[in-house]
Symmetry: C2
Subunit: 290 residues, 2 copies
C-alpha cells in the first residue's frame, strides 16, 4: 500500500456517486475506483446472505488494484455485510456509511433534549436496525423513526427528477408518516436519496434538518488516510482519476452518472456478474476526469 493506491467505492448502482462527489471535494488528488453492481440492483429488497455474497465478490474482484481504502457507499450493503466483509478481508481498511449518517443526524439535532430523528431507507436497512443502534450509541435519548422507502431506488435509477409528479407523490407517501410525527431531523439512509435532496427538503419543510452520510463519510476516509500516512499530497494541476466498473453495461449508467456528477465520466468497464467470482480487475487505460 502506498499513497498512489486508489480508493475503492462500491454500490448497487448510482447511489454511491453521492459519496464520490464528497470524496472528490475532500480528497481532490486521490484516484477513485467506482463499482456499480447494476446487473443485480436493487440491493434493498434482498437478504443479508445474498447482499454479503455480492459485496464480497466485488471486493475480491477489485483487490488486485491494492486499494488503500474501501468505501461501502451503500447503506443496505453496510447494514447487512460490513462485519462479515471486514472479517473476510482483514488486510483492507473498509468504511461503511451508516456510522457517518448517524453522526450527521446527532450533530444536526444538536442541543434538543429528546430529539426525534426520522430515517428513510431501504427495507433491508430498516430490518437490520443498524440506524437505531448507531444513533442510540451516540444519543441514548433520541427517538428514531424508521420508514422504508423501497421504490425510491428504482425511481432514481430510472432517471426521474424532482419535477415528476410520480416522484413527488412517492416522496410525499414515504415522508408524511414522519412529518406528521414532528421529526427534528431526517436522515437520508440510502446513498441514492441525496439525488432527490431538493424535493425532500421542500417536502419536510425548513424546520427539519435533512442530513446524509456522504460528507461525513468522506471526512472519515480523509482522517483515516492521514493517520495512516496514506493521503496523497494535493498539487494544484494534478487531479485524481475516476474509473468505473459496472456489472451491466447499459448506456443509462454513463448518462445518469454524468448528469449527477456534473461532468462527463469515461465509459465504464463491464464485468459480467457471472464471471466475478473468478476474475481479477486490472487497471489499464485510466483517463483523468472531473
Amino acid at each position: 500500500l502506498n499513497k498512489q493506491s486508489p480508493i475503492v467505492v462500491l454500490d448497487s448502482g448510482l447511489g454511491g456517486l453521492t459519496v464520490v462527489r464528497s470524496l472528490r471535494q475532500a480528497l481532490p488528488a486521490e484516484d477513485l475506483v467506482y463499482f456499480g453492481d447494476t446487473a443485480r440492483l436493487p440491493y434493498g429488497s434482498k437478504t443479508a446472505s445474498v447482499v454479503t455474497t455480492f459485496v464480497s465478490q466485488i471486493i475480491r474482484y477489485l483487490q488486485p488494484l491494492e486499494p488503500k481504502h474501501v468505501v461501502i457507499a451503500c447503506n443496505t450493503a453496510t447494514a447487512l455485510s460490513l462485519p462479515d466483509v471486514r472479517a473476510e478481508f482483514p488486510s483492507l481498511t473498509i468504511t461503511g456509511v451508516i456510522e457517518a449518517g448517524a453522526q450527521a443526524a446527532v450533530e444536526a439535532v444538536g442541543a434538543i433534549e429528546e430529539p426525534m430523528i426520522g430515517v428513510i431507507a431501504t427495507e433491508a436497512t430498516v430490518r437490520s436496525q443498524a440506524y437505531e443502534k448507531a444513533i442510540h450509541k451516540r444519543r441514548m435519548k433520541a427517538r428514531v423513526l424508521l420508514q422504508p422507502a423501497p421504490l425510491l431506488v428504482p425511481i432514481i435509477e430510472d432517471g426521474r427528477m424532482d419535477a415528476d409528479p410520480l416522484v413527488q407523490l412517492a416522496v410525499r407517501q414515504y415522508l408524511t408518516p414522519l412529518t406528521t410525527r414532528g421529526i427534528d431531523a431526517l436522515v437520508l439512509g440510502c446513498t441514492h436519496y441525496p439525488i432527490l435532496r431538493g424535493l425532500i427538503e421542500e417536502t419536510v419543510g425548513p424546520k427539519v434538518a435533512v442530513v446524509d452520510s456522504a460528507d461525513h463519510c468522506a471526512h472519515e476516509v480523509l482522517r483515516k488516510l492521514e493517520s495512516a500516512g496514506l493521503r496523497r499530497e494535493v498539487s494544484e494541476p494534478t487531479r485524481g482519476t475516476l474509473r468505473c466498473w459496472v456489472t451491466d453495461d447499459g448506456p443509462r449508467f454513463t448518462r445518469l452518472a454524468s448528469r449527477f456528477l456534473g461532468y462527463e465520466i469515461p465509459r465504464p468497464t463491464w464485468i459480467n456478474p457471472d464471471e466475478l467470482p473468478n476474475a481479477r480487475a486490472e487497471l489499464v487505460d485510466v483517463r483523468s476526469v472531473g
Copy 2:
C-alpha cells in the same frame, strides 16, 4: 422424458405466476416447477448478455429435473435470450411468451383494417423490437406503438395494488401516450402486468381490448405436449404440484405469490445465485398444492 416429468416456468420474480395460473387451468394434472430470480430482478433494465447468462444458468440448474417443457414466462428474457438458450439446450422444448402475446393481440383486433396495437413492456423488451416483429409477421398492416413502463415491475414486486394512488399515477403516465393515439388493443408485454389488469382496463376504457400472453402461452404448451404424447391424463382427484425456487429468500415472495394465486404456496427453496453455475436442482419433499 415421460408424462410424469414436470413443466418448468421461470421469471425474474413474481410475474411468471400469471402464466402458472393459466397453465394450472389448461393443464391441471401437470407438476409445475417455478423459478423466480428474485435476487437479480428486475431484468427489464438489463442488457441481453446479462439476462441470457441468468436464464442459461437457471435452465442448467433445473435440467436435472428433466423437464418435459420449459416456459420462459418473462417477456424480457424471451426477447433477449430465447434463440440463444434454445441453441444452448437443443434437447429441451422451450417456449417464450412474446409469440403468444402477439397472437393474442392480432386476434383481439380481429377485422379492423389497419389496427393500432399498443404494447407496454420493460425497456429491454421495447429495445429488442421483438413485439413489432412478432405482430408484423401476423398482420403486416398493424401499427405497433411501444411504451416502456420500467417502474411497473418494481411497483408490483413491492406488493402495491390497484387502489394505491402511486400505482394509478404510474399506470396513467405510461398509458396516456397510447390512449391519446387511439389504440384498438393493448398488449401487457410483461408477465407482471396482469397483476394490475383491473386498473389498466379501467384506465384505457372499454373500447380498448387488453390482452396478455398467459392464456395463449398455456394453450401453446398444451398443444405441444399433446402432439409429443407427453400430456398427463387428467384424473379428477389428482392435481399437479407446484414447487418454487427463488434466488432470494425474503418472506415477500411467499406472501405475494399466495395472494396472487389465491392459495397458499409451499415455502420456496432458496438457491444462492452465486452457487447457480455449479449446483444442480433436486426434487425432494414436493407437497401438493393448488
